[in-house]
Symmetry: C2
Subunit: 333 residues, 2 copies
């Protein structure tokens, strides 16, 4: 099996690559070649660290993914499973209208077209599994308390619009048999390693990550705010499992919300205290940011994810486990 990750240098892309290379993982034992595609060079040494990765060829393709020629090159390798994780993130897609549509819609559509060309060149024999990383931003307010699986798409951002458009394309190209695609909508990933970023959700990682390093951090929302999160490890496991669903399973479910954990910010801080000690909470400085509060309160905090659960996908069991996972991963590095 040849697995390709587009966006292979990103946080999730690198973690997914590591998981695939960990040959002990029973779900991925069939992988013989792993290709990482990104606009920046993926850190292959980091990806390999701690993995067995015997007998797996690793290839990197670095360059602009919206380049038509490169898309043909990518497709001509006829990978069996393609994870499409590359995106211009929400803030940037809103600030730079053209760049967002170019990268998030046109380049994704170009990829599907390149795969369709290979499908046709192979007289229909080539039909890759495509796992498209989508977002709950395809929804928009007002929301019901729990968002059902048949709730309609009304994105309130360029990013959400772009993700919804590509979901539609992935489903239609799959319905026509050119690819075997599935779109998965991710919860907010917590705890992200590294530094804070410009995302409104960034503090959700910072309030755990920084105190564990002994650093102060700001809490811009009320502790009663409720969010929908998933740990990196569970998200990666769900990517792996989605890539290996049967064609019959994806034929019935072309789009799904991944399982998440509904948790209040106060409960998150309790989890931090349980793992790292009560004194860590003192490093979290409440300083309400009305803009961030408004954005976070506009997000739905619970989704029905029955389809995903029926397909064997998993959620985090509690927030304490998510904090422990982060501590284990950072201490291992």
């Amino acid at each position: 099996m040849h697995i390709m990750i587009i966006g292979g240098a990103g946080m999730l892309g690198q973690k997914l690559a590591s998981a695939i290379l960990a040959n002990g993982e029973p779900l991925t034992t069939g992988c013989k070649k792993l290709t990482l595609v990104d606009i920046v060079e993926p850190d292959v040494a980091l990806i390999k660290s701690g993995s067995i990765c015997e007998g797996i060829e690793i290839e990197t393709i670095t360059g602009d993914f919206s380049d038509g020629l490169r898309l043909s090159q990518i497709a001509s390798e006829r990978p069996d499973v393609i994870y499409h994780l590359a995106a211009v993130v929400s803030g940037e897609a809103e600030a730079n209208f053209d760049k967002g549509y170019e990268a998030n819609v046109k380049a994704s559509w170009g990829l599907l077209e390149a795969l369709r060309a290979e499908h046709e060149a192979s007289l229909g024999g080539y039909c890759p599994r495509v796992v498209f990383s989508s977002s709950l931003a395809v929804y928009g307010p007002p929301f019901p308390d729990v968002v059902g699986e048949e709730f309609y798409l009304r994105p309130a951002s360029c990013y959400g619009t772009q993700k919804a458009m590509v979901e539609l394309l992935v489903s239609d190209y799959s319905r026509r048999g050119f690819i075997d695609g599935i779109s998965v909508r991710l919860p907010t990933i917590v705890v992200r390693p590294g530094r804070p970023n410009a995302a409104a959700s960034s503090f959700l990682s910072s309030i755990i990550r920084e105190p564990l390093k002994g650093e102060k951090t700001i809490l811009p929302v009320s502790p009663s705010s409720v969010v929908w999160v998933s740990s990196p490890k569970v998200t990666i496991e769900n990517f792996v499992r989605t890539g290996l669903l049967s064609a019959k399973e994806t034929a019935e479910t072309r789009v799904m919300n991944l399982p998440g954990l509904k948790v209040s910010v106060g409960e998150m801080i309790d989890g931090l205290k349980e793992v790292g000690g009560s004194e860590l909470a003192e490093l979290i400085v409440p300083e309400t940011d009305e803009v961030v509060s408004k954005i976070v309160l506009s997000w739905p905090s619970q989704f029905v994810t029955e389809r995903a659960v029926q397909l064997g996908l998993i959620g985090d069991v509690d927030f304490v486990s998510i904090v422990r996972q982060h501590v284990e991963e950072t201490s291992a590095q």
Copy 2:
């Protein structure tokens, strides 16, 4: 006011143009110029017949709407209201994958981009009302008995996918203030004038139209089949009203299902008998077509249309009135 109809040579486009030219219509008295855009030359003489159209300049632009240069030309006229009715129909969009996406998504997107360029060239002063003619094909089975306004988009055809993608674009370009757009999803239009076409719904017009001309016609489905229809006149009236909604109203409702009439095929035939005489039913020859039956039974037969009703849009009151309307219109020609 300058009104433009893209798809101005089609059945609905021509009827809409006639309605706008009928200056007596209080809703459209502000129109000073009407531009008809289509790949074939619109029949201006036919459109003018029976209309007052004093003081309204009529312009036609004939050519391929997917041509970028032409799109810039169209936009550079800065029409106040643009009706976008042009489409490759469902059967053709499914049979010719590339053509469908080119015409139904890329050309529509190109139009929005050309309007955005004018918006920016005018430093934001130009922000036209865009009424996009969408379709209930954005939905896909299985359906609830009544499809609610928050039911999700899961198109089961290329055509439905394409319409859903453009709805998303119209909403996002509107949210960003480049245009003031609204997408309206039409019921099946009955009675269509002219000849039968390749659409699975074609017989719904034929079973009324042909007997009224004394011609035999085939009924391919059971009389108990229930459908969701709208007359040409009511549909046109709804287009006119949608074009004249306030910016506040469209800001709250960027997509809506137009009101329709839920009616069984048997009730349609009863309406024909009431208007034209019982003997006309003998010209309808039952001859079940499994393919057509399956398609028609897969369509939802009732939709919630509260948003449209609140905005003052209307539905047909009963099927007898629809038959009478057809008789009046054909005898007037």
